[in-house]
């Protein structure tokens, strides 16, 4: 079934592919900065997502931090997956993150991915400050 196209859910990728995609996107290499800015701002938020059963926030195709995506970094955007993975970046920064596990981390898997992302952002800030 991976051969069929389910454009919501069945891509096959490496963590590196996700990180490269988001870095390229953030650099303006895939779409212009004006549209990227619009796509990573809240377009629909709060009001209790009927499906996720908690508050969620979406840009244009990207999920933004909210109860459904417990990332602390301001301006973060990306998309999590039911397998526990996450690909994302931060507005106004050229940064790409990819985390792809082969099974769902135990406990709060979304929190695991979100924490790794926040640590990656912190590491990036330190790296750039050097």
């Amino acid at each position: 079934m991976l051969a069929a196209e389910w454009p919501a859910v069945n891509a096959v990728a490496s963590a590196l592919a996700l990180a490269r995609t988001y870095d390229l996107l953030a650099a303006g290499g895939l779409i212009g900065q004006k549209l990227l800015d619009e796509a990573t701002r809240p377009q629909s938020a709060g009001r209790g997502d009927l499906v996720l059963e908690r508050d969620s926030s979406f840009g244009l195709g990207f999920m933004l931090p909210a109860d459904a995506l417990p990332i602390q970094t301001e301006g973060a955007y990306g998309h999590p997956g039911a397998g526990g993975g996450f690909g994302g970046s931060v507005r106004q920064r050229r940064f790409g993150f990819g985390f792809v596990p082969g099974r769902l981390p135990s406990g709060n898997a979304m929190r695991t991915a979100a924490d790794l992302f926040d640590l990656a952002v912190a590491g990036s800030e330190e790296h750039l400050a050097k």
Binding site: A11, A19, S44, S56, G83
Partner: protein
């Protein structure tokens, strides 16, 4: 490089040691499986780590080249394809979907815009008609079903995660404006930039594909694995997935088909 479960290998700039430690702890927790983690900063690969097993039964370690189904992380790739089309001027964010996909403009969906589709506010969080797994594997057929449906709310007035329908709606928009599928458009882009990610299509046997262990439950599980556990009661996630994908209750269930079997597990 093989090693005990929990070991992490690869490269990591000094500033990312806390990230590496957290990742190692995570991998140690992924019994029988593994993970990859990468950070690219201003065009430079600063973290490229892997750990655990891509296929524990075969003794294949997870490496930085390992690929794996990424579930809804896919939605961002699909967004990028559609946003590029918008950026080129071929499509407007606030244009009604029906402007290029006329049969979509019925039953209260005349006002659904491309922006609504991308922001999960179009009002079509699920396919309401029962469908076969063959139909579900056909993005054109699924888009046609959605095009005939009535929205569950006035488009743009609220939102709910369109877990599966997001993809078929984006694909329908792209096919009706550019004559190409999301998977095809993504393949062109990924090839140009040397990005190892695909949406559908025959998997190149040379790509090291990880085995998913204990996949998320729900109607989608069969899309990613042959492992089916028909005895577990539905979880909250599964009920949520059912809401998102009611359509997967296959009226022509074939018990031998994993996706159908998952769908019909006792509730």
């Amino acid at each position: 490089m093989s090693g005990p479960v929990g070991s992490v290998h690869g490269t990591c700039a000094a500033s990312f040691v806390p990230l590496r430690e957290a990742f190692a702890a995570c991998v140690g927790d992924l019994e029988g499986s593994g993970a990859g983690l990468a950070v690219v900063l201003e065009g430079r690969l600063v973290v490229d780590l892997a750990g655990g097993w891509a296929d524990a039964a075969m003794g294949t370690p997870w490496t930085s080249a390992t690929v794996c189904p990424i579930f809804s992380c896919t939605k961002a790739l699909t967004a990028i394809v559609l946003l590029r089309h918008i950026d080129s001027g071929a499509l407007s964010l606030d244009a009604p979907v029906a402007s290029t996909w006329p049969v979509f403009g019925v039953a209260g969906k005349e006002t659904v815009t491309v922006r609504h589709v991308l922001s999960h506010s179009a009002g079509l969080p699920a396919v309401t008609e029962p469908v076969t797994i063959e139909e579900a594997n056909n993005a054109i057929a699924m888009a046609a079903l959605l095009a005939a449906q009535a929205p569950e709310w006035e488009p743009g007035t609220r939102h709910a995660y369109h877990a599966l329908t997001y993809g078929w709606l984006c694909d329908g928009v792209l096919r009706h404006t550019a004559g190409i599928s999301v998977g095809e458009a993504w393949r062109v882009l990924a090839t140009r930039h040397g990005i190892d990610a695909t949406i559908g299509g025959t998997l190149d046997a040379s790509r090291p594909l990880a085995q998913i262990v204990d996949p998320p439950s729900g109607p989608l599980a069969g899309a990613f694995t042959r492992r089916v556990d028909s005895d577990t009661p539905p979880t909250r996630e599964e009920r949520r997935a059912r809401l998102a994908a009611r359509s997967m209750r296959d009226r022509a269930a074939k018990p031998t088909h994993p996706a159908a079997a998952v769908d019909h597990k006792p509730r």
